[in-house]
């Protein structure tokens, strides 16, 4: 199953120091944390927080993202992650679940393009059990034949189910169509066909080649003392032997040239769902914060340019947003919305019109000020819980960003000038070169698509894959 590890939170990527709002712009600081690297290469990040008697774990296995899936076996990394808790050397799947559930804990794992990851949450009093379960599933998964076939069937059925909700799967079609031959095109959760090509042997091999302490980041935030937690983690993880993990070079995605459309026919649809955009930028690009500022104005909040046009002014949709996805190599940029069949043409024209206006008119000083206030004002709740903070620590480590990056985040937001926004729009927001994916009634969409793109591909939603 495809898993999104709170990627949205890194859009802000910061934390606040608990403080009284004695001024309008309190200075924010990542709370102190301890970083340790064990001899076997495992990176451990510990942040004490004592407001609730709970502990949150977040782990990432670098180099075990879906880009590692062998061609034809898309979904391999994902089912491997799904299976970690479905039975270990000493526990059956049911016993593992009983262990987690009995204490009211939570534990899951999943995969995205660049990594596999998981999270867990337990009451402070159950910390030893939590570490036992976590270390067990990460170091000793059993991958029994029975559990393998169960998961594969569930995932295949899950895709059929998901295809009844275009909003849920349009992203998969968009990703595939945009990235073409690049590894990011291949769906992290696999397809109806690729999943059935996956054997128990494949999973065991994948695990063996991609899971190792030296590829792992573990962040823990919550009600513990750092020294004790470090000692406990050593007990459970320090004996895991490091392995040579071959790094995978991810090629830089190339922007699409020209306008290309994909129509996915869903004959019963009363709405047209669409995603439009092109290649964006890598998460670690120095322009990331400035891009965020501009995107807030363009499509990143309720009063954004596209939502203002499509929803607020014309009522053509319930919502229109734009976003830049976060990845090691360049993620995607997309505008996404939906509209009743009858207003398909109008909504698409309007979207492209707003994009054109962004390039022609840019943003104003007043808008820039508003975007900055919005980003800073909305930041607090994104880093409020131990789970969010553990996740943040993991992501900072993964992207090789540091505390200083976060602690100067607001400064970077504030430092974005009008000149910067002009350059950002030109560089990162597409105009003439677009990937356009539409799901709905083909007979309705085709005339509209023909006005947007010369190159139109068609498929049916019931076709396997995306």
């Amino acid at each position: 199953m495809k898993f999104t590890l709170f990627l949205a939170t890194l859009v802000a990527g910061l934390f606040l120091n608990p403080c009284h709002a004695s001024d309008d712009n309190p200075k924010f600081q990542l709370p102190s944390f301890k970083k340790v690297v064990f001899d076997n290469g495992m990176t451990v990040l510990l942040m004490e927080r004592h407001s609730l008697p709970m502990i949150d774990f977040c782990w990432m296995m670098k180099s075990s993202g879906s880009i590692q899936d062998p061609p034809g076996k898309e979904g391999l990394a994902s089912v491997t992650a799904d299976l970690l808790r479905k039975g270990t050397a000493t526990r059956t799947s049911t016993q593992f679940s009983e262990g987690v559930d009995f204490v009211g804990g939570a534990c899951d794992a999943g995969t995205s393009l660049d990594y596999s990851a998981g999270s867990a949450e337990f009451m402070k009093k159950d910390v030893t059990l939590a570490l036992d379960l976590l270390s067990d599933m990460i170091q000793h998964p059993a991958f029994s034949e029975e559990e393998v076939s169960k998961i594969i069937k569930q995932e295949v059925d899950g895709i059929a189910d998901a295809k009844t909700l275009p909003r849920q799967i349009i992203g998969q079609y968009y990703q595939g169509f945009l990235y073409r031959a690049h590894p990011y095109a291949r769906p992290a959760g696999g397809t109806e066909i690729s999943l059935t090509n996956i054997s128990r042997g494949d999973i065991a091999t994948f695990y063996s080649n991609h899971y190792a302490p030296n590829a792992m980041i573990l962040a823990v935030a919550g009600d513990f003392t750092s020294d004790e937690m470090e000692a406990s983690l050593r007990k459970f993880f320090a004996n895991w032997t490091a392995k040579k993990i071959n790094p995978t070079a991810i090629p830089e995605p190339q922007k699409l040239k020209g306008r290309h459309a994909l129509i996915v026919d869903k004959p019963d649809s009363t709405q047209t769902f669409f995603e439009i955009g092109n290649i964006g930028l890598p998460r670690t690009n120095a322009d990331w914060v400035a891009v965020e500022v501009v995107n807030t104005l363009f499509g990143g909040r309720f009063t954004s340019m596209i939502n203002n046009e499509l929803r607020i002014q014309s009522g053509l949709t319930y919502g229109a947003v734009s976003r830049f996805s976060e990845h090691l190599a360049a993620g995607s940029f997309l505008i996404t919305s939906y509209t009743p069949n009858a207003s398909t043409q109008r909504a698409l024209d309007m979207t492209l019109d707003v994009l054109k206006r962004l390039h022609e008119k840019g943003v104003s000083e007043e808008q820039l000020k508003s975007a900055k206030a919005y980003i800073k004002g909305q930041f607090g709740p994104t880093q409020e819980t131990s789970g969010q903070l553990a996740n943040l620590l993991c992501e900072l480590e993964f992207y090789k960003l540091d505390a200083n990056y976060i602690n100067t985040y607001f400064d970077k937001v504030d430092a974005t000038t009008l000149e910067d926004t002009k350059r950002i729009i030109k560089t990162y927001f597409p105009l003439d070169d677009l990937s356009i994916v539409l799901i709905g009634q083909s007979s309705v969409i085709e005339p509209a698509a023909q006005k947007l793109a010369v190159d139109i591909k068609k498929k049916s939603i019931t076709d396997p894959g995306y």
Binding site: C19, H50, S51, P53, G104, Y318, K376, G377, T385
Partner: protein, 445 residues
């Protein structure tokens, strides 16, 4: 670190601590007061982030409507953002976002809740904006028409384009024949198309009156300042006569009801509902425990039987939710490919029979109790979560203290009680079954 934060942090640790018998005894320092116009106010200071969560719970939902104006409560969710006296059309969101705030709202059968999340520096402004729209909402005819279109669109997206929601609408409509829970919160399409502007004005006057509203605020503010602002901005809004109470009750269902819909889909879908009492009824506590045992986590009875062992379903979910009037305990089951719906249904009933004939194990009961306690702490993680929990408990269950008593009440539940409650409510005569049949043009079952 600031002393007042330290004090609060310590107070929380002391307040939400486990006694030796493992019970939570939380007494968050909630300040309660009432304005002269009848608006009740709950305030909880929380200085962990320089933000505030401000919620207004209006005691109005689809249960207050009647045929002809179904969906009207939900419509206000939209109109409330479209202009009042001081902040004109389209101003509300623009001003709020300029100040670093964001907002949302939701409508249920029982309440309409307006939610604001903003930096503490914007406190006075938000009060000004909220007072403006609560007291002087504009009903511009053009705005009404354009928003009517948006809501019709929303209905299309959420019901007509969504198989699960379509089925659920029919399920609930079949389970409730007389009580206003019969119609969907979003309203019937024909009513959406036919509301008159005067309907809105009349409804708003009574149901959005301050005496019918409760304000809940959690976050980085000073209590005295908050009360001052409430008095300044909200107290001048005049009270109105109390809304007429909802007196129609649902007669006892005396036989299983079944409803089928046909939709384009690759898989069938199953939803089953049993009548249960209102959330204030003490039976909802053992029902909560049954929900944990049957549905919570992969070790739950239904996941183990239907998803894991027999593999008839790819997912199982459901349970009860807070309601002012008696509502439903629901089961949503997604059968896997090639599984006849009847098979999934049969296994569900076998498990519900089992929980009536055999006492649950000590282990299962303790698991539920442990989980309820952990969930209580989870509800305390964020200022937003606290505001929502406090408001929901105070408005729907009548007293926010119930939030803190709940883990203790759950702790007292016995296996015998669970058996009694299962026998009382999971009976076929009180059951409504909804099935979605895939319209693929080929025979699937």
């Amino acid at each position: 670190m600031n002393l007042s934060i330290m004090r609060w942090s310590i107070a929380v640790i002391a307040a939400i601590s486990l006694t030796s018998s493992g019970h939570a005894q939380a007494q968050l320092d909630v300040h309660t007061c009432q304005l002269t116009n009848g608006m009740k106010i709950l305030l909880l200071e929380d200085h962990s982030i320089p933000n505030v969560a401000l919620y207004f719970f209006h005691r109005v939902g689809s249960r207050n409507e009647h045929t002809g104006i179904t969906g009207l409560s939900h419509f206000f969710e939209h109109m409330m953002f479209n202009g009042a006296k001081k902040y004109g059309p389209k101003e509300f969101d623009r001003v709020m976002e300029n100040a670093g705030g964001s907002n949302n709202a939701y409508t249920s059968e029982d309440v309409t809740v307006y939610q604001d999340w903003f930096p503490s520096s914007a406190l006075s402004l938000i009060f000004d904006m909220e007072a403006d729209r609560t007291s002087s909402l504009a009903f511009d005819p053009q705005m009404v028409e354009s928003e009517r279109g948006v809501v019709a669109n929303e209905r299309r997206l959420s019901v007509e384009n969504n198989n699960e929601d379509s089925l659920h609408e029919q399920l609930v409509a079949s389970a409730f024949t007389a009580h206003p829970y019969h119609w969907p919160v979003i309203g019937w399409m024909v009513d959406i198309e036919n509301w008159k502007r005067q309907d809105l004005i009349d409804y708003f006057k009574i149901y959005y009156a301050p005496n019918n509203c409760e304000m809940v605020m959690v976050g980085d503010f000073e209590t005295t300042k908050a009360i001052e602002l409430a008095k300044q901005y909200l107290e001048p809004i005049p009270a109105q006569p109390a809304p007429r109470p909802v007196t129609t009750t649902e007669p006892e269902q005396n036989g299983e009801r079944r409803v089928t819909i046909h939709r384009a889909a690759q898989l069938p879908s199953l939803q089953v509902a049993y009548h249960i009492p209102a959330s204030t009824d003490p039976d909802t506590i053992p029902l909560e425990v049954l929900e944990y045992i049957l549905l919570r986590g992969e070790s739950s009875r239904l996941y183990q039987r239907l998803v894991d062992k027999e593999q008839v379903a790819i997912s199982v979910s459901g349970g009860q939710s807070p309601h002012i009037d008696p509502f439903l305990f629901e089961f949503y089951i997604q059968p896997g490919a090639g599984v006849p719906v009847e098979q999934a249904e049969k296994l569900l009933y076998e498990e519900l029979d089992r929980i009536q004939t055999e006492l649950v194990s000590t282990n299962e009961l303790q698991k539920a109790k442990n989980t309820a306690l952990a969930d209580f702490y989870r509800s305390m993680k964020t200022i937003s979560g606290k505001a929502n929990a406090l408001g929901t408990y105070d408005v729907i269950l009548g007293d926010y203290h119930r939030l803190f008593n709940a883990p203790d009440l759950i702790n007292r539940v016995t296996p015998e009680q669970l058996q009694q409650v299962a026998k009382k409510y999971f009976i076929s005569r009180h059951r409504t079954v909804g099935i979605l049949v895939p319209d693929t043009g080929t025979e699937t079952h």
